[in-house]
């Protein structure tokens, strides 16, 4: 039988040798079986309709938060497997568990997945889960746009994640510097996948930024002035505004690289007077604020967790807000510290070195505020609090090594060494991830209605934290001894062997910690410890005045706010009955209707992106038309609201025991 040459060509393009490695084929088979099993399960239990109505077309921020969270955990797993592959390769000198090419692909995917498809969605998960509830709102400002953001993220993530089995993974690092990322040096579709997936997810991120900025500015309950707002809501406000200014330069950097690669432009090429360094500038004008986009929400989370579990109001509320603002503004003046070696001259470098160091000051202020909040408080060691306690020393070390890196002459030594790798893992894992996991344990009961088992949570946290220190402390010393980032293997005799060995062991310990966390979630789902009070932690802010999980409309009656920590005050003053309603006080509520438009829009983006990745322009145009069609449909289909009647509300609230007697 002879194969049609056209099909042969297509097969070669979809399955180049790069993706035909035995381990990848093994994973492909495993995933296919899992997908078939899922389809069979959904069909057998007749859940397709449920999936479509309750989840895929939902515009409810609480459900969108849950979807973000589950997706982020899956991505944490994926990025974690990549990390373990990297560390396995480096456990001893001259290992060839992976080829150098595969190693490049794996570290690229690791970084990209962790930053864009794990940390960002987990931030958005907690924004969605908590912010509207804590400011006394019934939803976000633009519920349908919120769903669009989620689906753009989801399809962006799918795009990046299918690259390793269809067409080949990107291999130019998470920052994808040209000229290496240009067609001349990096042919194939991997880099295209990188560019398109980040572009699609990035549009969603900008939309989320707009959404939460307006939500916090306009939807606060009466009486909740800006200075009575919980710090987590502040962090959402500030993170959102950082997103608005940080993501467009990324859009441009990615877009211009795409024009170079797919349409033959000459922006960052070596020939035709292109200028690769321009990319580095654009990327880091995005990139440095991005790291603060990742750390502000955890700062906000800790500012909720610490007062709750110390039974004290937050120390220095004003200073907390001021330092958040200061950090957000300073973070725009530091990007050059990522390439002091570019040769900008001593004046420019000193400026950026100093501005970088300045950030340590407001960060230190926050540290002291949390410690003073705990000081003299009645501290309860819960899992969220444990993550916070682990965070304090880790982040101090991470910040201090950051200041070392900001010392320009010294950075000529540290730059792109394992010292720098250790620094940013110190702040991103020890800051962002610890913070997000703290928030996950804290708001879990509010999101799902049941608590996560305490003992298992403690074990997960302890193992993770021990593994963390074991992994990254040796890497500082590896950096001192000259090991540079992105080496796929190293020779013996350089004094690196033992340090690398322990670093790898640490990574596996962290992996075990993660598995226990997954076990913790599954176990607690099977043996649920229902949260019947709605306030399992004896907490302070408005979301805890609601039942867990909150009903569709959140607040049957929007509360009137008199102070910071309103719910705590209500409890102190015995006013908790204020949240109950009676026949007289209840009114019908208007809520947005479900709509398939967001998922269809994102699907069209996905189809168009596949067309761009493989340079099948007919498909790209088809996708583009799909986008236009979805937008037009969204504009014309009268995006109406549904009414939840008084009776329904009364019934729901009665079931929740929230009717005035």
């Amino acid at each position: 039988m002879t194969m049609n040459p056209w099909i042969l060509h297509l097969m070669k393009r979809l399955f180049p040798p790069q993706v035909l490695l035995p381990d990848i084929i093994g994973i492909d088979i495993g995933l296919t079986i899992a997908a078939i099993a899922a389809i069979v399960f959904l069909t057998k239990t007749k859940r397709w309709g449920w999936l479509w109505r309750e989840w895929i077309t939902t515009v409810d921020h609480k459900k969108i938060g849950i979807m973000y969270l589950l997706a982020a955990l899956v991505m944490l797993f994926r990025g974690g497997v990549d990390a373990l592959m990297i560390r396995t390769q480096l456990i001893a000198p001259h290992q060839h568990f992976m080829s150098a090419q595969q190693y490049d692909e794996v570290f690229t995917t690791h970084g990209t997945v962790m930053i864009f498809f794990m940390a960002m969605p987990m931030v958005f998960a907690l924004f969605n889960a908590a912010v509207p509830l804590m400011i006394g709102a019934r939803d976000v400002a633009f519920p349908r746009l919120n769903a669009i953001s989620f689906w753009l993220f989801a399809f962006g993530a799918i795009l990046l994640n299918i690259s390793f089995s269809i067409g080949g993974s990107p291999d130019a690092g998470w920052m994808s510097y040209p000229p290496y990322s240009e067609l001349m040096f990096d042919p194939g579709v991997g880099e295209n996948y990188f560019l398109l997936s980040l572009q699609v997810a990035g549009i969603g991120t900008i939309a989320t930024g707009i959404n939460f900025l307006v939500t916090v500015l306009r939807l606060r309950a009466p009486g909740m002035t800006l200075t009575r707002m919980p710090i987590f809501a502040w962090s959402a406000l500030i993170t959102s505004s950082l997103i608005l200014f940080a993501f467009p330069p990324l859009t441009v950097a990615l877009g211009l690289t795409m024009l170079d690669r797919i349409f033959g432009a000459s922006f960052f090429t070596l020939g035709h007077q292109g200028m690769p360094m321009m990319y580095a500038n654009l990327f880091w004008i995005f990139g440095h604020p991005e790291v603060y986009i990742l750390i502000m929400p955890p700062f906000g989370i800790f500012s909720e967790v610490v007062p709750t579990f110390s039974k004290k109001p937050l120390f220095g509320y004003e200073a907390m807000v001021a330092s958040l603002l200061a950090i957000s503004i300073l973070s725009y003046g530091t990007w050059v510290h990522h390439f002091f070696e570019m040769g900008a001259g001593p004046g420019v470098n000193s400026f950026f070195g100093l501005s970088t160091m300045l950030i340590a000051i407001p960060t230190g202020v926050k540290m002291f505020n949390w410690i003073f909040t705990m000081w003299g408080g009645r501290i309860r060691i819960t899992v969220p609090m444990l993550w916070q306690l682990a965070f304090v020393p880790t982040f101090v070390v991470g910040g201090a090594t950051g200041v070392m890196l900001a010392t320009v002459p010294a950075d000529y030594q540290y730059h792109n060494s394992y010292f720098m790798i250790a620094h940013f893992h110190n702040v991103i894992l020890g800051g962002t991830v610890f913070g997000l996991l703290s928030g996950l344990y804290y708001w879990w009961p509010k999101m799902f209605g049941w608590k996560l088992n305490h003992r298992q949570g403690v074990w997960a946290c302890l193992l993770f934290v021990v593994g963390f220190w074991l992994t990254f402390m040796p890497q500082y010393f590896l950096g001192f001894q000259g090991m540079t980032r992105r080496m796929s293997s190293y020779p013996p005799g350089l004094g690196w062997t033992a340090l690398n060995f322990w670093s790898t062991i640490g990574a596996y310990v962290m992996g075990v910690g993660f598995l226990i966390m997954v076990y913790n979630i599954i176990w607690s789902r099977i043996h649920p410890d229902w949260d019947t009070t709605g306030d399992p932690w004896d907490a302070r802010t408005l979301e805890w005045s609601l039942p867990s999980p909150a009903p569709e409309y959140n607040f049957a009656r929007i509360p009137q706010v008199h102070s910071r920590d309103e719910w705590w005050e209500m409890k102190q003053e015995g006013r908790t009955d204020e949240v109950k309603i009676s026949e007289k006080t209840v009114h019908a509520i208007h809520m947005p209707r479900n709509t398939p438009m967001p998922v269809l829009l994102a699907l069209a983006f996905f189809v168009g992106s596949i067309g761009m990745v493989f340079e099948w322009f007919w498909l790209a145009i088809l996708g583009g038309l799909g986008v236009v069609a979805a937008l037009a449909y969204g504009s014309f289909a009268n995006y109406s609201e549904k009414e939840i009647s008084r009776d329904t509300i009364l019934q729901t609230e009665a079931q929740l025991g929230r009717l005035e007697s």
Binding site: I210, F245, P248, S266, G274
Partner: protein
């Protein structure tokens, strides 16, 4: 409600500002525009850095000619004016006027895009593709991004005309018209910067 606010009300703020839902959308749109400012800002800085990186291709001075660009400028400025007339008609509750002026606006926009495409096509015919130099890449992308914004605006205006004709001057349609005029003015301002930074400085 006190009488003070009553009299305040009667000074008649447009309905799209009074409605909570719609006024939230207007705020959202303003914020979207700031992200677009940053987008254009990034492209402008790329262009500024690449302006003299002409490689073997033409310099700005050799490439640009004033005639078509002046025509484009005049057309776009006029369209901003007609766009405001459309909003003015809507505010005075004249549906027909609003639709008519909006149609004029989108036709002017279309002729702007047509002239721009002709200019680009001429450059490409002469062999000046963006492959030739970093300068040309920056030029085509910056001006082209503006042009594609105008194109999107035209598509938006077409939908808006249809919605106005079928639904009339509802609050939602008024808000859409208002945000459209914001968008159109914004593109006009960007063009003035483009005209100055790219063309005037290039020809000078």
């Amino acid at each position: 409600m006190s009488t003070a606010t009553e009299t305040h009300r009667s000074v008649a703020r447009p309905p799209e500002f009074e409605d909570t839902h719609e006024s939230i959308r207007i705020l959202g749109f303003w914020i979207f525009l700031t992200t677009d400012v940053v987008l254009f800002g990034s492209l402008f800085s790329v262009y500024a850095v690449f302006r003299n990186r002409v490689a073997l291709g033409p310099t700005p001075h050799q490439l640009f000619s004033m005639g078509p660009v002046l025509a484009e400028t005049l057309i776009l400025l006029t369209s901003t004016f007609t766009c405001s007339l459309s909003l003015y008609a809507a505010r005075s509750n004249r549906l027909k006027g609003a639709v008519a002026w909006l149609t004029v606006t989108l036709l002017l926009g279309a002729s702007f895009v047509f002239l721009e495409i002709r200019e680009f096509a001429g450059d490409v015919m002469a062999g000046h593709t963006w492959h030739q130099s970093a300068f040309l890449s920056g030029f085509f992308t910056l001006v082209g991004t503006h042009g594609s914004h105008v194109t999107i605006g035209i598509a938006w205006a077409i939908m808006l005309v249809l919605q106005l004709m079928s639904g009339g001057l509802t609050v939602t349609n008024r808000r859409k018209l208002y945000t459209f005029t914001l968008y159109w003015h914004f593109l006009d301002i960007v063009w003035i910067f483009l005209f100055t930074v790219v063309y005037l400085l290039g020809i000078a």
